[in-house]
């Protein structure tokens, strides 16, 4: 059963449920990546409900848009969203990272249906997405698109820039790089670990059409940015959203400690209380 998201209130309700699932999943598994899942929740919720051409009843629909989760550690947000949208039951989210589960720690192509790429080692998703997009074009699937979600820490990987160069060279219109710029990577703030800015100028110099400094938690802004992006022609499009790692839970926000660590019992209670009030 596919969820109807008609109104702004529906969408806000969805993002709230997804965030609670994320915290619950990582707490239950005692491992997983909360911070980058919460920073991407709004970006992905708008994409999946307003723009991504997909069908939870038919996950292998060949003409669908492909969503590539390049930051493959942020499976909690994708699984939560897929469950909410009807790909599988929300009860299955409790199996996250458990023995025998379909919900692996990092993304695995086809597990569960709806996951369109394998990821975990960073930096490969844009290349994989480029291959998907060029194949769509070869097959004449002009209405299909490829959306690749990357982190800003991920921009350290050299392969990202190989892909950026090649995507522009091949004029990969219909390929969208969505960057969740939350400013924090595994060990520390990105500006401390590896300065990747100015990202917008870099992608522009590589030949991409770029929109940057977007509020990645304002649902209206996100929707307008995607609308703008799909109207662009002749080049791949990069959307750079400023986000807050751990968004929605006060003590996780902007906190490098919540990249890959689970909350304690007390932190879990507080986080769920804050997200319930949201």
């Amino acid at each position: 059963m596919t969820l109807a998201i008609e109104t702004p209130a529906d969408l806000a309700g969805l993002t709230g449920r997804v965030r609670r699932h994320v915290v619950q999943m990582v707490y239950g598994a005692k491992s997983g990546h909360i911070g980058g899942s919460l920073s991407a929740t709004d970006l992905m919720s708008v994409l999946y409900t307003r723009f991504l051409r997909h069908d939870p009843e038919n996950p292998s629909w060949h003409e669908r848009d492909r969503f590539v989760m390049s930051k493959g550690h942020c499976t909690p947000v994708q699984y939560a969203l897929l469950a909410e949208l009807g790909y599988f039951s929300t009860e299955e989210l409790d199996t996250f990272r458990r023995k025998g589960t379909r919900l692996q720690g990092h993304s695995v192509l086809g597990k569960p249906p709806g996951v369109d790429n394998t990821a975990g080692a960073l930096g490969m998703g844009l290349s994989f997405g480029l291959g998907l997009r060029l194949a769509q074009r070869l097959q004449g699937l002009e209405d299909s698109r490829v959306w690749v979600l990357m982190g800003d820490g991920e921009q350290d990987e050299g392969q990202v820039w190989e892909a950026a160069m090649a995507a522009a060279h091949h004029r990969a219109e219909g390929l969208f790089a969505v960057i969740d710029r939350n400013g924090i990577q595994n060990d520390d703030f990105t500006k401390t670990t590896m300065s990747s800015e100015p990202l917008d100028e870099k992608y522009r110099a590589f030949g991409w059409t770029v929109l940057s400094d977007l509020d990645g938690h304002d649902l209206k802004t996100i929707e307008q940015a995607y609308s703008w992006a799909i109207d662009q022609r002749g080049a791949p499009v990069c959307l750079i959203f400023d986000t807050v790692k751990g968004k929605g839970v006060s003590f996780m926000e902007h906190n490098p400690s919540f990249h890959g660590a689970p909350p304690s019992d007390e932190e879990f209670v507080q986080a769920m209380a804050e997200l319930a009030d949201a």
Binding site: V108, S127, G131, L134, E162, M165
Partner: protein
């Protein structure tokens, strides 16, 4: 079989482009990706026939391999081409983008082994079999001549899953004058013998046949197996060789401790251990002609024969 003039020596890499063209013309759904070596790998010939199905990614093998996986995820059979040393450059992409999702990416890498010659150590891949055979789901093949190279490329196109095919730079004699006998996962017995078995792959097959002729004059009858498929390894043929001949020499253009020889020893250790010797590479090579580069590593008929004499003495 009519008697015709012997086919001229040819490089196994020369089969790549023409075979891909033939397969696409026959109705396969191929995509070929390249990293700026299409002239040397012969893949560029495919571009001339099917320009919309040929994609260059520049000198960027990592991007090429992950993009190849994307094409494969959309249903295409993708041939990725570069040199063997540069294929090693994309190990993590082969692991996560290709092997784990088990996609139809066929990596055909030319200039394998020290016989790449004059370009020197950096261009001579002596680790690629270890690297590729370490990946679950991958089939790994090395043709012994240009005829077998065509057959292996066709097998890769028609068999689901990832492949690594190593081809060679120099022109070498044709072994399969009467046509290919390649079967994926099966050794091909080119000569039977009762005293010893020489297991060889690639350019060492022809050299092993020459060694076997020499050894016969000394009263040593050698079986010669062309082990063109390294993974999955034909353990039945190995066990039969151990049982029937009681000694095995493995000859290959690769590091001994991680190549075909090591894999054969591993396969036989628990079932049919027999004395073994390894005629293989033990260090990085250097600039020389292709045949001199092989001589520097003792990868000659004389080198193979010496290995046979050592192992026979240990029986």
């Amino acid at each position: 079989m009519t008697t015709t003039e012997a086919r001229a020596p040819a490089a196994t890499r020369e089969a790549v482009g023409p075979t891909l063209i033939r397969l696409q013309q026959a109705g396969h759904d191929l995509v070929v990706v390249d990293a700026d070596l299409g002239k040397s790998t012969s893949a560029r010939k495919f571009r001339d026939e099917f320009p919309d199905r040929f994609f260059t990614f520049g000198v960027a093998e990592q991007n090429m391999i992950s993009a190849a996986a994307g094409f494969a995820a959309m249903g295409h059979t993708v041939f990725a081409t570069t040199f063997a040393v540069f294929a090693e450059h994309a190990f993590d992409q082969l692991r996560m983008s290709v092997a784990q999702p088990n996609l139809d990416v066929k990596l055909v890498a030319s200039h394998g082994g020290v016989s790449t010659g004059e370009d020197g150590a950096s261009a001579q891949s002596i680790e690629d079999i270890a690297v590729m055979a370490s990946l679950p789901n991958f089939a790994v093949c090395i043709p012994a001549d240009v005829v077998e190279s065509e057959a292996i490329i066709e097998a890769a196109a028609t068999t689901p899953g990832p492949f690594y095919v190593r081809t060679a730079r120099p022109k070498t004699p044709v072994i399969y004058e009467d046509g290919p006998r390649f079967q994926l996962g099966k050794a091909d017995m080119l000569r039977d013998g009762s005293d010893v078995t020489i297991v060889a792959c690639g350019l060492l097959v022809e050299r092993s046949l020459t060694a076997a002729d020499q050894l016969a004059t000394e009263g040593i009858e050698a079986r010669v197996l062309n082990m063109a498929t390294i993974r999955p390894l034909d353990t039945d043929a190995l066990e039969a060789a151990a049982r029937d001949t009681g000694a095995i020499v493995v000859a290959e253009e690769h590091l001994a401790h991680t190549g075909l020889g090591a894999m054969c020893a591993h396969a036989l250790a628990t079932s049919s251990p027999v004395p073994m010797e390894f005629v293989a590479v033990d260090r990085y090579g250097e600039s020389a002609t292709w045949s001199e580069a092989l001589e520097l590593m003792n990868l000659t008929p004389e080198g193979v024969a010496a290995g046979v004499r050592r192992v026979v003495a240990r029986k």
